[in-house]
């Protein structure tokens, strides 16, 4: 079985800086990490491989330094890493990002399952997984909290939705986006780290994946970030510090009035 895991490198801190001109992220000076939610996709891939055999290919589109994310994936148990990096890819929205990833996945070929994270902690759209599936025209499932069975023809998954869990049989090959509930990601092993350090990471650009240049980067993206602002953090709320029972009671009454005002009771 061949499993492909698209992973994204994201900035570590929550204090990310933006370029006000282009509306894109300034990545210099911020420690990049593997998107925390992608660790669950990697872990699930490793578990499936241990159970059913096969190989795992991690793939990322990002700057040249994103090979580090792939090495981390290899240290956790992925077999190979492929880096999609080229100036022409820069500034892509989710439409263009999923296009590039789907072209790379087509080139890798012969895959059975693609595992994505639910969303990336920076762009935070959760759109890339379903987007890849649409490009490849394969069935997909989102918000998956369990992969219960993989047979020759289908995969059985459990999806978490607003009012419960949906159990689905899905034809193979298929794409799955996983939620945190699915597993506990393992730590890299010493062997894994050695393997990761020695791994050859091929770098593919538009030619290698035969991508149409008008679909790439900022130019190939339907959406445009036109403005970035920092929302006001403080709401300048009212502050109460009741000390006595009487004061406490007054504050309770005040909250009940607030509930009434906002029509929630």
């Amino acid at each position: 079985m061949k499993i492909i895991v698209p992973i994204k490198q994201v900035p570590e801190t929550s204090n990310v800086k933006m370029d006000p001109e282009t509306g894109t992220m300034i990545r210099t000076g911020v420690e990049p990490i593997v998107n925390p939610l992608d660790l669950y996709a990697i872990e699930e891939a490793v578990r499936l491989k241990n159970q059913y055999g096969g190989e795992i290919v991690a793939v990322t589109m990002g700057p040249p330094s994103a090979h580090k994310a792939l090495r981390e994936a290899i240290s956790m148990g992925c077999d190979e890493g492929i880096l999609l990096s080229d100036k022409k890819f820069a500034g892509a929205d989710t439409w263009s990002t999923s296009y590039v990833l789907s072209k790379a996945i087509e080139k890798i070929g012969n895959f059975d399952i693609i595992l994505c994270g639910e969303r990336a902690t920076d762009g935070d759209t959760g759109q890339v997984g379903p987007g890849i599936a649409a490009w490849l025209n394969i069935p997909f499932s989102t918000y998956v909290s369990q992969i219960s069975e993989v047979t020759e023809t289908k995969v059985t998954v459990k999806r978490i939705v607003e009012n419960g869990y949906q159990l689905l049989d899905v034809e193979r090959p298929t794409l799955i986006t996983v939620v945190k509930e699915i597993n506990f990601p393992r730590l890299p092993t010493l062997d894994g780290k050695i393997k990761a350090k020695q791994a050859e990471i091929p770098v593919w650009g538009p030619e290698e994946i035969t991508a149409e240049s008008e679909h790439l980067g900022l130019k190939g993206s339907p959406t445009r970030v036109v403005k970035i602002s920092t929302p006001k953090v403080s709401r300048d709320g009212e502050r109460f510090s009741p000390k006595t029972d009487g004061e406490m009671e007054e504050v309770v009454d005040c909250i009940i009035r607030f509930f009434e005002e906002k029509e929630i009771i």
């Binding site: 935070d124 709320g237 009741p242």
Partner: protein
């Protein structure tokens, strides 16, 4: 571009139109009025009654486009995506907004690819740019640290998902008239490569936090599982959902579906009341779009107070029982 009209993607569950549809109609109405075009609700379902379809008109739709098929009895991506893509191709709306529910977030990205449309995720604000008629979309990103304004000037339809409960529906007008169009689609659009084998209802009360109007949340400050039950009780009295910080989930006081924050759920209720939660950035990321926040914490410097509309610096073990008693009396419970 001969694309015209504002569409909202309605949602139904077992034939009942969901509130998020009415919320979208309110958003869509503002846009349709500015553009001076029709507001259309598109709905996919199975045996949805005419009265339910009419309700979309009462809540603001000028037209309803409805496709009826057994395949829409449960949510499955293929028939949803293929049918909507086909309908967009036929009617050519200039704007399509969906709710950022598990359904909307699943189908909208795939439709955007197929229609070569821009899609802005999880918007909290939508407006029309004067002159260009472009849709101006505002959304929080990077854990809520920034607000991005996004346009898709050269592609139609302009697509967006909107946070559920980030606005109220309009008051329904039962005298409002409109047209319901029953669309028939060829079988190829209704095929599915996945099949539902079972649905397990979330039995636990108050788990549906993303959909909830009221969320009552507790954190590590509750100190024990037993004490966390105060949170559950308060939620029950107010018909709200139970939320929890990651600490409270890790300690086993609440299950993961209740977790609010960066690695849990984002909630946008009318009221978020929390006690014993410090307000770590990862937690705040999940509640920034709550309309009203009440926070109870014994630490005067707790970060959660920055985001609170009402900040109560008190011991929750003294304060909550009093609030619970008074609310019970007020609501005759």
């Amino acid at each position: 571009m001969d694309y015209k009209g504002v569409w909202i993607l309605g949602e139904q569950d077992r034939g009942k139109v969901q509130t998020v549809s009415y919320e979208l109609l309110k958003r869509g109405k503002t846009l349709a009025e500015k553009l001076n075009v029709d507001l259309v609700a598109v709905l996919l379902g199975y045996q949805v009654s005419p009265a339910e379809l009419e309700s979309l008109i009462h809540y603001g739709a000028d037209k309803v486009v409805y496709v009826d098929d057994p395949v829409f009895g449960n949510f499955l991506p293929d028939p949803y995506i293929n049918s909507l893509t086909k309908l967009i191709d036929k009617y050519k709306p200039e704007i399509l907004i969906a709710s950022a529910t598990s359904t909307g977030r699943t189908v909208a990205p795939a439709i955007a690819i197929k229609c070569h449309a821009g899609l802005t995720a999880d918007c909290t604000g939508l407006d029309i740019e004067e002159g260009s008629r472009n849709l101006i979309q505002t959304r929080p990103a990077i854990g809520g640290n920034i607000l991005a304004t996004i346009k898709s000037p050269d592609h139609r339809p302009q697509m967006a998902t909107v946070r559920p409960h980030s606005n109220q529906p309009m008051d329904p007008d039962p005298t409002r008239k409109g047209e319901v169009i029953y669309e028939k689609l060829e079988a190829k659009f209704l095929k599915s490569r996945s099949r539902q084998v079972a649905f397990i209802e979330m039995k636990e009360e108050g788990a549906n936090i993303q959909d909830a109007e009221i969320v009552i949340a507790g954190g590590k400050g509750c100190k024990t599982e037993e004490n966390f039950k105060m949170i559950t009780e308060l939620a029950k009295i107010l018909n709200g959902a139970v939320g929890a910080s990651r600490e409270a989930v890790d300690l086993g006081w609440a299950k993961y579906p209740h977790q609010v924050g960066l690695s849990g759920k984002t909630v946008s209720p009318s009221m978020y009341l929390c006690a014993g939660i410090s307000g770590a950035v990862q937690h705040l990321a999940g509640i920034k779009t709550a309309q009203n926040i009440v926070a109870i914490n014994s630490d005067p410097d707790a970060q959660i107070f920055q985001l609170a509309d009402i900040a109560v610096e008190a011991d929750m073990f003294e304060f909550l029982p009093m609030l619970i008693e008074k609310l019970k009396a007020r609501l005759n419970k």
